[in-house]
Amino acid sequence: MNNETIKQAPLLEARNLTKVYEDGVKALDNLQLRVHPGEIFAMLGGNGAGKTTTINLFLDFIQPTSGHAFINGIDANADPLEAKKNVAFVSENVQLYPNFTAMQNVDFFVRLGGRHQYKRSDYEAALVRVGLQREAFDKKLKDFSKGMRQKCGIAIAILKDAPAILLDEPTSGLDPKAGKEFTRLVGDLRDEGKAILMSTHDIFRAKEISDHVGILNGGVLVAQKTNAELKGVNLEQLYVEYMAGYMEETLETGPLTNNLT
């Protein structure tokens, strides 16, 4: 699988991506990563590790201090409108218009994403797929729980049908069952050939479905492992040790970042 995907062009690529905020905080330091079609890349990292910063750079919400973020080969900060045609985004806390129903929200954001061909039945199918109860379709969003909003968010991403998907801690705050369902859905999308970059705190779920796991600490990608490399490894221990910052030399394989370049 590894050999096969490397031949293909990556759909999401960070090249020497660095972000220093106005107040001098270096949130991201020379990040290198690639996500190919049919891959899930899980960014692990504690609060403030730089996960959201990475995703914001891909979405042109912030400008990189140096380096580039490419979506389908398009520099996201040089040609954001073109780049964003190729990516769907689900934030850690999907917020929609409270006075609109689920349907109205989905309709608006999907058409904003450039998809005009859908009928109501298509929206319904997507909402059913993500597991939203039918009764909620025409209810106003202001009464929705966080889980229901996340479901709407992923439905919108599915309907946008972009080749790449950015997920920023999509399961944080969800109950275990909802989290599991969400994860399964992400796995399905990968199987459909999407390139998925997902930030998360959830080590076990990351290990379960990811093709690559990267550990981000203080803006530095301190480790990157393929799924195969993680077989039999206690990822939790690895994570904690990397977070503490003293495993770099002792681990034979070392950060996979080197292999990529």
């Binding site: 979405l59 964003k84 045609k85 985004f89 450039g114």
Partner: protein, 488 residues
């Protein structure tokens, strides 16, 4: 893309709970104000016509043309329904007589002081105060609210340009606020037509311009709402800022401008002006009596040494000559006084105009002043209402005086009166009296000054222009701010 965004803005406004409430309040207010305005107008028309009739009868019943005390009345205009302006504050009538200057007295508010306390709510007031507040209420969180909600990020994860987004935001908000507003306005106009108020085509132009002006005014508030919401991160802050802007713009700055002008250019009060006029008048009459008594002393000296019979004969011989001399002197005094009054008045009015212009220009730092001034201009209830009427009444007074003097001459009277100065009885005036009623069919009738819509539009061009400049500034500012807006 644009239409998707515009539709969404429209829907967002129409579906928001505050929309229904504000729409209802606006509609009710506008309809009530038009309804009451129509009634008020009709009442003032009835009053106007009755008073004119009474004045006419008074004129007819006067015993001589010199005795006639004519009254000219200010004519109500249908435009006062929408912009009452100074209608309630300017006097409704003025006496027209040879020796008194025109002065508008008895304003509607001075007659019915109760209504002066909270003042009349007209369409212009609703737009100026209520609708501007609503425009802010719908725009204060236009940008930062979406950021707080997180919807901005989701929207901009799509290929949407910022310019497009803001333009759609503006268009959608504008349509969402303006279109519902046009409904009660149109119903109000229908009410106007059905109620049989005589609306001239010039009035229709003014009404149309007034509506256009109101739309510009609300557009400005939509613009400032967008601008503030695009330069702040939190909607609570932008709301507070906008409230401060609204209060200073609507309630404080216009008054400050006028107050500042009052301090910078001081002009005398009406009482001071009148005191000046009276002082001159008194001094002039005192001069006159001194002159007269000198003349008589001279005449008495001429008669010195004559006996009683000679004196009588001399007096009889000289009587008409003396009378003419005295009369000429008296007329000189009167024309001097009138001339002086006019001069003082003109001087004071010129100063007043300077003060007014300064006041308005200072007040115009707030576009609210521009709206108000232009609205009153369009309705003809502006600051010049009084001046226009007084000027036209003065012209009428001249015509009227000329006419009565002619009539008086025709009726075989000298048109003057005889003054006898007697050491015992003092000054005695003698009018030539006769007892028939007067034929007023040829008397000139007063007609109200007509201001055409073209003129008022011309007068409001500056304020229209200023509003447009303010709108462009707020939108330019919004675009600049939003292009650099941090969506996170």
């Amino acid at each position: 893309m644009l239409s998707i965004l515009v539709q969404k803005e429209l829907k967002n406004i129409l579906l928001s709970p505050k929309f229904f409430a504000t729409f209802l309040v606006c509609s009710i207010l506008i309809l009530i104000s038009v309804f009451i305005g129509i009634n008020e107008y009709k009442n003032s028309v009835v009053q106007f016509e009755t008073n004119q009739l009474i004045a006419q009868q008074d004129v007819e019943q006067a015993s001589s043309w010199m005795q006639v005390r004519n009254i000219a009345h200010r004519k109500p205009t249908p435009m006062q329904i929408f912009v009452s302006g100074l209608h309630f504050d300017v006097g409704r009538l003025s006496g027209i007589s040879t020796f008194n200057d025109v002065k508008l007295v008895r304003s509607p508010y001075s007659d019915e002081t109760l209504f002066a306390i909270f003042r009349f709510i007209d369409f212009a007031f609703i737009v100026q105060v209520v609708l501007s507040l609503f425009a802010i209420l719908f725009t204060y969180d236009a940008i930062n609210g979406e950021r707080e909600n997180g919807t901005l990020k989701l929207a901009f994860s799509n290929p949407v340009s910022r310019v497009q987004y803001l333009f759609a935001k503006f268009t959608g908000t504008w349509l969402g606020l303006i279109v519902p507003l046009l409904i009660p306005i149109l119903i109000g106009l229908l009410l106007l037509i059905l109620s049989g108020v005589p609306v001239t085509s010039s009035d229709w132009i003014s009404i149309g311009s007034l509506i256009a002006l109101s739309l510009l005014y609300i557009t400005f508030f939509i613009g400032i709402g967008l601008f503030i919401s695009a330069i702040t991160r939190k909607s609570s802050l932008s709301f507070l800022l906008l409230l401060v802007i609204w209060i200073s713009g609507v309630l404080i700055l216009p008054r400050m401008g006028v107050m500042a002008a009052g301090q910078l250019v001081s002009i005398e009060s009406v009482a001071q002006l009148e005191a000046k006029q009276e002082a001159f008048e008194r001094a002039r009459w005192e001069d006159y009596s001194a002159e007269i008594s000198e003349t008589w002393q001279a005449r008495n000296q001429e008669m010195e040494g004559m006996d009683e019979d000679e004196r009588r004969a001399y007096r009889d011989e000289k009587e008409w000559e003396w009378l003419e001399v005295d009369d000429a002197a008296r007329k000189r005094v009167q024309s001097d006084i009138i001339e002086n009054n006019r001069m003082l008045m003109e001087e004071s009015q010129n100063k007043k105009k300077v003060q007014e212009q300064l006041a308005f220009n200072l007040a115009r730092i707030s576009p609210v002043s521009s709206f108000r001034l232009a609205a009153m201009n369009l309705a003809g209830t502006d600051i010049d209402l009084k001046r226009r009427y007084e000027e036209s009444m003065r012209r009428y007074k001249d015509d009227f005086t000329e006419f009565t003097q002619k009539k008086q001459a025709e009726s075989g009277n000298s048109g003057g009166f005889r003054i006898e100065v007697d050491s015992n009885e003092g000054v005695k005036l003698d009018f030539g009296r006769n007892d028939q009623t007067l034929d007023t069919s040829e008397m000139p009738q007063y007609s109200a000054p007509i201001v055409q819509a073209g003129t008022t539009l011309g007068n409001s061009i500056l304020d229209f222009g200023l509003l447009i400049v303010f709108i462009i500034a707020t939108f330019g500012g919004s675009f600049l701010a939003f292009l650099r807006y941090d969506m996170r």
